[in-house]
């Protein structure tokens, strides 16, 4: 009785080890090159099957856009710090606080507008079908999250209204 059970158990263990080993090795060799890569455009190459010519054109656009994006982020961060300092100082000048908030909002709008313009430029540098897919995906990833937040907040307020 014991011997067949032992054989079946050992076979199961060996089978599981072989399957698991093959699974993790294959997974590692697929993930490792991407995980250690420093190329920001790996995703575009993988997802949109771009040729080297398309990728070169997009790389120029990407490298041109990065300093703009960094500058926008820096400006927003500086303005936000200014706003926080004004709030922490207990400034009673509502007008000053309001103006600083408006400036932060304007900088965010500028940043978002330039980001969307960049996405459109990149999409135009791709084959039409892939470009449309890229644009839709980037809008989903960027604006989609904002819309989700807005929808969840409006849903929450309506929900709140029902109860109060």
């Amino acid at each position: 009785m014991r011997k067949p059970v032992l054989i079946v158990l050992i076979a199961l263990a060996v089978g599981a080890a072989l399957f698991g080993g093959a699974f993790y090795c294959a997974r590692y060799f697929c993930v490792q090159p991407v995980a250690t890569s420093t190329d920001d455009l790996d995703w575009l190459r993988m997802e949109f099957n771009l040729t080297e010519a398309h990728l070169a054109k997009i790389r120029v656009l990407h490298e041109g856009y990065l300093p703009i994006c960094e500058a926008n982020c820096r400006n927003i961060a500086l303005k936000k710090r200014e706003l926080k300092q004004a709030e922490a100082a207990g400034t009673n000048a509502t007008e000053t606080l309001r103006q600083l908030q408006a400036e932060v909002t304007a900088l965010r709008t500028k940043c978002q507008t330039e980001m969307l313009a960049h996405f459109e430029e990149v999409s135009l540098a791709m084959p039409p079908e892939q470009g449309q897919r890229y644009l839709a995906e980037m809008k989903r990833l960027t604006l989609g999250s904002h819309e989700q937040v807005e929808e969840s907040m409006s849903g929450a307020s309506e929900h709140g209204r029902e109860h109060h």
Binding site: M1, K3, P4, V5, I7, V8, A11, G15, L18, F19, G20, G21, A22, F23, Y24, C25, A26, R27, Y28, F29, C30, V31, P33, V34, A35, S37, D40, L41, D42, W43, L44, M46, E47, H62, Y65, L66, C69, N72, C73, I76, A77, K80, V104, R108, C111, Q112, M115, H118, F119, M138, L141, T142
Partner: protein, 104 residues
């Protein structure tokens, strides 16, 4: 005549034996329990046969080698599909982190 005597003696012996072994009441559901035990024993034997057959099958190279090949192939296939999806996600996150305005 001799046989008649023998039968009379057997009857006497049987009576004596019955008297020597007091009759006890059988426990309730005795027959069902016995039947169940017999069935259980049969099932147990069947599982042993099944396990032995499986063990014998596993040890045959004609079965073991293709099984190993199938397991390796399946593991590699599923692992590479999973890895590709993971790699795509890592690459997407890196790209999006570079070009998308972070939550300020």
């Amino acid at each position: 005549m001799n046989r008649l005597n023998q039968n009379t003696n057997d009857d006497g012996l049987a009576t004596l034996l019955r008297a020597a072994r007091p009759q006890t009441e059988l426990p309730p559901r005795f027959r069902e329990n016995v039947r169940r035990r017999i069935d259980h024993g049969e099932a147990h034997t069947a599982s042993i046969i099944w396990l032995e057959a499986l063990a014998g099958w596993l040890l045959k190279p004609r079965f073991a080698i293709p099984s190993i090949a199938v397991l390796l192939l399946m593991g590699t296939l599923i692992g590479s599909l999973n890895g590709q999806a993971q790699a795509r996600l890592i690459a997407q996150e890196r790209y999006v982190a570079m070009v998308v305005m972070p939550a300020h």
